[in-house]
């Protein structure tokens, strides 16, 4: 028995988080990154017990469009029904449980199981069983026995589609809470809707999912881990004498800039930083049109600030180097999958779209000049999580500067975080993630105990 198991037995999940605000201490027991029992409990108490991100509505725009994904361990698929609403079913045939939808995306009027040929409509009803007449007498054939299992809840906010395997959850809007204002400001500037740009990326990382999740709200690492990115693109852009939107704003990586970060509640986080070079972003070209629709305060949020948010437990949305939608899931205690898309306004001028894509490729891909370093550092942190005797990961930075509730910028946009902080490199937001983690894990274990 290692020390962790003892701790967990004695104090429950609270024992993994050393949370003492009065003493300016916030620490996380590194065992949470490598204990397989904790992952099992996370599947049960977090991923399979509350809202998780599934896909964007643009992935399933037309009737019959489907999108296969997972909620925690469980395979599911989202489908657009003929009436335009979305449904989500466990991706297992109602007969013998073969995987029903074998492609990531597609379009179908009906789903035919590849194993025994059972048919299902988009409402999840079993419409036919192969050779039914020779297998069941008429009075015992009830196709409804084979109907697909729907997930308990599906809903979307600003076209971000979420689902929950548990029905005992608040509304999606309540779950997102303060994050809705930041999602709004991400979406609202687009003259029409947002679309998912063609092409995507999946990469597997040899670390616990929480280490990569922490990397999202963590801007503290950027000037260290991504200094080489800033230098490489600066070299390129000097050599090519780049101008306007083809430039890269590396100000955020090379010096101190005005910024803030937020614990949005429910484990969601956000930060922003002042853009040193706002002209380097495609949205700058729309500023005149946008200034007719938005207040000067909102314009500062849209044009003047790079923005980033994480929605616990599996969504990241940001407008930093480019506009980026990311979801992830654990594949094991020491392995995770990340899926990323570039998300952009429909009808964007071609040169702006190309600039957005090149920025995305420069930074966010596993073949880019920044993400590989994030992966490498996350994998090295996972290895070091086995240093049980040093025990604690420290997340106390910035506690002396914490503001309870909103700061001026949050008030301007009209959202009320749990806490604000006057720097994006503080760890206040991460504390909110782990308080939510503790709450969900404890609540889940209470349910188990009945």
């Amino acid at each position: 028995m290692n020390a962790t198991t003892t701790l967990s037995n004695r104090r429950g999940f609270a024992g993994y988080i050393d949370d003492r605000p009065a003493d300016r201490v916030f620490r996380v027991d590194r065992a949470i990154y490598n204990d397989p029992n904790i992952l099992e409990a996370e599947y049960r108490n977090i991923f399979e017990a509350n809202w998780v991100f599934l896909c964007h509505e643009a992935h399933v725009r037309n009737p019959g469009d489907y999108f296969a994904t997972h909620i925690g361990r469980q395979p599911v698929f989202v489908v657009r029904k003929p009436d335009g609403t979305l449904a989500c079913y466990l991706n297992a045939c109602g007969h013998r449980g073969a995987t029903l939808v074998t492609k990531r995306v597609g379009n179908a009027k009906e789903f035919i199981c590849p194993y025994h040929g059972f048919c299902f409509d988009t409402a999840g009803k079993c419409t036919a069983a192969s050779a039914a007449k020779t297998g069941w007498s008429e009075q015992h054939l009830d196709l409804a026995e084979f109907d697909l299992t729907p997930i308990a809840r599906i809903d979307s906010y600003r076209e971000l589609v979420f689902g929950s395997l548990s029905g005992a959850v608040p509304s999606l809007r309540e779950h997102l809470g303060a994050a809705t204002a930041l999602i709004d400001i991400f979406v609202a500037p687009a003259p029409q809707e947002l679309e998912i740009v063609a092409g995507f990326s999946i990469y597997e990382t040899r670390c616990n999912w929480k280490i990569m999740h922490e990397n999202g709200p963590d801007a503290y690492h950027a000037p260290v881990v991504h200094n080489n990115f800033a230098q490489a693109v600066s070299y390129r852009e000097k050599r090519e004498a780049r101008a306007g939107v083809t430039r890269t704003d590396t100000g955020r990586l090379t010096g101190r800039i005005e910024s803030a970060s937020y614990d949005l509640g429910n484990g969601h986080t956000a930060f922003w930083h002042k853009r040193r070079d706002p002209e380097a972003f495609p949205i700058y070209a729309q500023r005149d049109e946008l200034s007719k629709r938005f207040t000067p305060g909102q314009m500062e949020w849209i044009i003047g600030r790079g923005r980033h948010m994480t929605i616990f437990p599996n969504l990241l949305l940001n407008d930093l180097a480019s506009t980026h939608l990311r979801t992830y899931r654990p594949l094991g205690v020491d392995r995770m999958e990340t899926v990323i898309w570039c998300i952009a306004p429909v009808g964007e001028p071609k040169d702006m779209r190309a600039a957005r894509l090149r920025k995305f490729e420069d930074f966010f891909l596993p073949s880019g000049m920044a993400t590989p370093d994030d992966v490498a550092v996350a994998e090295s942190a996972h290895k070091a999580s086995f240093a049980f005797d040093s025990k604690w990961t420290n997340m106390g930075r910035g506690m002396d500067f914490k503001i309870d509730g909103p700061d001026a910028a949050a008030r301007e946009l009209g959202f009320t975080p749990q806490a604000s902080s006057n720097s994006w490199d503080h760890e206040i937001a991460m504390q909110g993630v782990y308080r939510r983690w503790r709450e969900m894990m404890e609540r889940g274990e209470e349910r188990l105990r009945g």
Partner: protein
């Protein structure tokens, strides 16, 4: 009938390119490229088809101009990139070389590659590619005007870079 002498010359050139990468002579490798060279590794769509319109779709890499490749070399040699430090060793296997055309635009050639990379933190990584080259003759030597790599593996284990494809 294929021009076997040309095929042999192109094959020799591709072998030399591979050798420069494997021996980490990245400066000499850059000298194989035209100033306006394109280095392109398409991504795939959700339907698993390779992306084909770089202006409107996402790619693993779409680098236009030698300076973009120089920036990549600069980064991996800087020592500041944790993913490139230690720099993985590679072995490029180049096969199935065919010359598809020889016209005013240049020589269109094809090769399959298997690149085995190894470094201590991550162990072995294998990436299989189909490479489409456009070569120009400059100063009695070939220069790469464009190199497009269609990767077999689109679920990436960790990360990759210009020298591991």
């Amino acid at each position: 009938m294929a021009d076997l002498a040309l095929t042999a010359a192109v094959t020799e050139f591709l072998y030399r390119e591979a050798r420069l990468l494997d021996s980490r002579q990245f400066g000499a490798w850059l000298d194989l490229f035209c100033e306006d060279a394109i280095f392109w590794v398409p991504a795939v769509g959700m339907d698993r088809a390779y992306t084909s319109e770089p202006e409107t779709s996402l790619n693993f890499m779409y680098i236009v101009g030698r300076a973009g490749l120089e920036a990549r070399v600069f980064r991996v040699e800087s020592g500041g990139s944790l993913a490139s430090n230690p720099l993985p060793y590679t072995r490029h296997l180049v096969t199935n070389v065919t010359v598809d055309s020889d016209g005013p635009e240049g020589i269109a050639a094809f090769a399959n590659t298997q690149v085995v990379a190894f470094c201590e933190p991550r162990g072995q990584q294998i990436l299989n590619g189909s490479c489409e080259y456009l070569l120009r003759r400059q100063d009695k030597r070939f220069r790469i005007a464009s190199k497009k790599v269609l990767l077999l593996e689109y679920v990436i284990d960790g990360y990759f870079d210009f020298f591991t494809v």
